[in-house]
């Protein structure tokens, strides 16, 4: 399975008054992870949109193991867990770089949708090149 590591540093904006990164902000990090994963393949989500395809999220999950703190440098390790012509599941691990500790794990499930109508499309039919590149990551 092909994976990609994106790096990001926790800033003040990410924290809350508990002194840890706000639980909802991991989903923003997941977006960074999947953007960079796609970019690492020589593809771009922006191009996919230009071809008229969007990937709206239909499910998201995260389980939190250890809190990320301000100024932590974290790795967002991203891979593809499952994929069909209709949808794709990205899996993520958030790891604190300093001690390699797993902070959180999660996933996002996306439909392939027409950019104008947001109706489902089959990626294999609409854009076989992207489909093949992504399938190769499994």
């Amino acid at each position: 399975m092909y994976i990609w590591d994106a790096r990001i540093r926790a800033i003040y904006k990410d924290t809350d008054q508990m002194g840890i990164v706000y639980y909802g902000n991991y989903y923003t990090w997941f977006e960074v992870g999947r953007n960079e994963f796609i970019r690492s393949l020589g593809l771009s989500y922006k191009d996919l949109e230009a071809k008229g395809i969007m990937l709206p999220v239909i499910e998201s999950r995260c389980s939190y193991k250890t809190s990320a703190k301000y100024d932590d440098l974290v790795v967002i390790r991203t891979g593809i867990r499952e994929m069909t012509g209709a949808r794709i599941i990205f899996a993520y691990e958030v790891i604190r770089e300093q001690d390699n500790k797993l902070l959180a794990k999660g996933s996002t499930t996306h439909a392939f949708a027409d950019a104008k109508t947001l109706r489902p499309v089959n990626l294999k039919k609409r854009c076989s090149e992207y489909f093949d590149r992504l399938m190769n990551c499994l």
Copy 2:
């Protein structure tokens, strides 16, 4: 089961360039939902913190049915799905008020933790009054 409906209006800040509310922002709405749920019981999360207890999130999930859009007035319907002395699971439904359409469903699982050490505590032992009030919502 006791439930509480909080109301919030989607603003520009919540949307993304897909023209819909960004998937991660539903978790912010969930926070509004559980804050108002707790307040509706005559309790307050702030008081709980003043008593030395925090509720860090250990798991969160959301499934997205229909996109919320800018200026939508949404109801965040919140209840307690499960609870023990060690943890609590809140369940949420996000409903578009205009047509009563279900936009998203989700849950957050929280540990009861000591505010200083973030170590697990038993709410029943540490704060039986809060424990009983919350258990009554099941």
Copy 3:
């Protein structure tokens, strides 16, 4: 001068590890303030967009007097400071409801722009009804 008071409660998401509301989040509150200001006139920003007009921000400012904290109920007091056919300046005060204390003051300057091209338009010419209603608030 016509003003409108919107109310909002500071949540965990708004705070940072300093235990106060993150400085950038006041600009989100300003958006809530101007949305509700416009709505209070019987108008809606969404309708304005439907008429092909947008209000991109060209300048924003905020000065911070006293920190907003978690669970504070705040009033966002909004008015129009200046207006021409080409642009509008909204002014805001953020007030803690509990003790009427001024927390922050700020402003946002917006151009009137065509929704498709983002080029400047004259609101008086393009939508005189909106222009007149807003001018009456000065």
Copy 4:
């Protein structure tokens, strides 16, 4: 004047339904800019906090020239505009890397404050090493 360039890529989360980066999010980018500026000096904001000093924002401003868009790689160019023992003003330029176009300019004014009381402190007296390093950037 010493300046430092931090790089960041605009993500979906940063955009709004106008298809551009939300005006309030530039202030988050400013935070990234000043964090990396301080780090580039071999200092860290986290260490400063450990020494009991915080830098609450007392004023912030931004003027927007050209909209940042999704997937734009932007440079946040940060320097110190003014500084006394009591406060510091950081100045920022946000530049689109692709064509070197200036997207926005802004500043944030910070007080030096005691981390516990949030009362003003004199940085020169409390932490002369940091004071000198920062003064050298003017």
